[in-house]
């Protein structure tokens, strides 16, 4: 109960009576809401105008606190979600690459078909396209090589995870290497920039084949490209599938430098995969362990120019043969 001094009682009564009548007015009067184009009771207009600043302030404070909590403090689920998204992004990148490869393949086959229609008299052999439909296993890099001259890493998957020797290890950005040693829970991967590594590759644009060989530096080289071949910095290099380890069409890297050599050009590549900062990789689980000593291996490499006639058998100096040989040099 509030005790009002006697002298101020008339004033208090005046205030009460006036306020009561103002409220009475406000309940009757309707004000045009210009934003909505219709009339609303004045009392509602007042109440909204009176309450909204507090609502806004409260909302701002709570959203700020909520943002602080969810953006800085409560990040328990963010990491797992981030990993999930990265993995999904990687899968999508791979899928995109596959589709790009398939589209390019279809384009080439269309051109071949056109050629076949125009020259029906020319004898042609259809070449089988090896699809990259291997299952994949995600693995994490858990260590590297103790030898500074050796470019190898260890991943947390082994024979118990169906990993076998000579399986391809890739990332969505590019190939990484191949499995060289397998243990029950760990595998060793030979990176493509190791001196003993070799990958069958080709230029994505010109489809010229070569071998990507490691040299111990961060930048592997594309070998067996003749000096007449026009190569530009930035040209994309993809796997050719001839080494029977990496499926055809996976990104290897881009040309970072090019100069004439004897007898082949000296082409350095910038690998697509961040070989020095690998964290998560994918192992392509082929159905059986690849035996690179199998004599039919080299001869089964498919030609890229079906229009040229019968499929050529790789010679000892052909890129496919060298790639297979290079891949077999490691145990």
């Amino acid at each position: 109960m509030v005790d009002i001094p006697t002298r101020r009682r008339p004033l208090a009564l005046l205030t009460m009576v006036v306020v009561a009548q103002v409220l009475l007015l406000a309940f009757q009067v309707r004000r045009t809401d210009r934003s909505r184009g219709h009339e609303i009771p004045l009392v509602r207009y007042w109440v909204v105008e009176m309450i909204m600043p507090f609502e806004r302030a409260g909302s701002s404070v709570f959203s700020g606190i909520g943002g602080l909590w969810s953006g800085y403090i409560d990040l328990r689920h963010e990491r797992s979600e981030n990993l999930l998204l990265r993995r999904e992004n990687g899968d999508l990148k791979l899928r995109n690459r596959e589709l790009e490869t398939a589209a390019a393949e279809a384009q080439r086959l269309t051109a071949s078909l056109e050629f076949r229609k125009e020259h029906p008299e020319a004898p042609m052999v259809a070449a089988e396209v090896i699809a990259s439909s291997s299952a994949m296993l995600a693995a994490q890099v858990i260590g590297g090589s103790a030898d500074p001259n050796s470019r190898t890493i260890f991943i947390n998957g082994g024979t118990n995870d169906r990993i076998r020797r000579n399986m391809a290890v890739i990332t969505p950005d590019g190939i990484v290497g191949k499995i060289v040693e397998v243990f029950p829970h760990v595998s060793q991967v030979l990176l493509i920039n190791d001196r003993e590594s070799g990958v069958g590759a080709m230029f994505a644009g010109s489809r010229t084949h070569g071998i990507v060989k490691g040299n111990g530096s961060p930048y592997p080289e594309m070998d067996y490209i003749v000096n007449d071949e026009k190569v530009h910095v930035g040209d994309a290099v993809i796997t050719s599938g001839e080494d029977r380890i990496f499926p055809k069409g996976l990104p290897v890297g881009v040309v970072s430098s090019d100069k004439s050599g004897n007898p082949f050009q000296v082409i350095q590549l910038h690998p697509g995969a961040r070989l020095d900062r690998l964290e998560d990789v994918l192992v392509l689980l082929t159905e059986r362990e690849l035996d690179l000593k199998e004599p039919a291996a080299a001869s089964s490499a498919t030609p890229e120019t079906p229009a040229s006639g019968a499929a050529p058998t790789p010679t000892a100096h052909s890129p496919a043969a060298v790639a297979s040989k290079s891949g077999a040099t490691k145990p």
């Binding site: 005046l14 009576v17 103002v22 009475l24």
Partner: protein, 176 residues
């Protein structure tokens, strides 16, 4: 919040007039009825606002701000109720202020002299108009004039009429 009404707050040196039972209520109702009745016979009736004069007279005579403002509020609300397009409370607010000010002034100065009555009515007429205009502008979004020559003439006519009316109403006082 509780508010106790205490009517005995007027100053001792000013005479408080009393009226027979029902005089104030009857006068107020008669003023409103007459105002509504005369309004039908032309605009000349608008020159004089009888409810305002009754509010001022009894506010000044009773010299009690609380009863003055309540009388003003009641008369104003009745006037609003009888009007065609005014929301209830428009005249009520204005006459509440007038009743309060009239009774407050009446408690401090002698308002028995015709000249002081005339001046007081003219001033309170404009106060009434001012509160009306402000209320209309603020709450009803109408453009009401605060002061015009026409209003000034009205106030003079009303003041002159009030001198006669108040002398008539003085006869309703109870002899002490």
């Amino acid at each position: 919040m509780s508010l106790a009404y205490n009517p005995g707050i007027q100053q001792d040196n000013v005479e408080v007039h009393k009226y027979y039972t029902g005089t104030i209520v009857g006068s107020a109702i008669l003023a409103i009825v007459l105002q509504a009745f005369l309004h039908r016979y032309g605009h000349w009736a608008e020159l004089i606002e009888l409810p305002l004069l009754v509010t001022i007279y009894f506010g000044v005579s009773r010299r009690n701000p609380a009863s003055g403002l309540l009388l003003g509020a009641a008369i104003g609300l009745l006037q609003d109720a009888l009007s065609h397009d005014n929301p209830i409370g428009l005249y009520g607010i204005a006459k509440t202020f007038v009743g309060y000010v009239a009774s407050s002034v009446g408690a401090r100065i002698d308002t028995e002299h015709p000249l002081s009555r005339f001046a007081l009515v003219v001033v309170l007429f404009h106060l009434h108009q001012f509160v009306l205009a402000v209320t209309e502008r603020a709450l009803l979004d109408r453009s009401a004039p605060l002061f015009t020559l026409h209003l000034f003439i009205d106030s003079l006519v009303t003041g002159a009429f009030a001198v006669l009316l108040f002398a008539l109403l003085d006869r309703l006082r109870r002899r002490s």
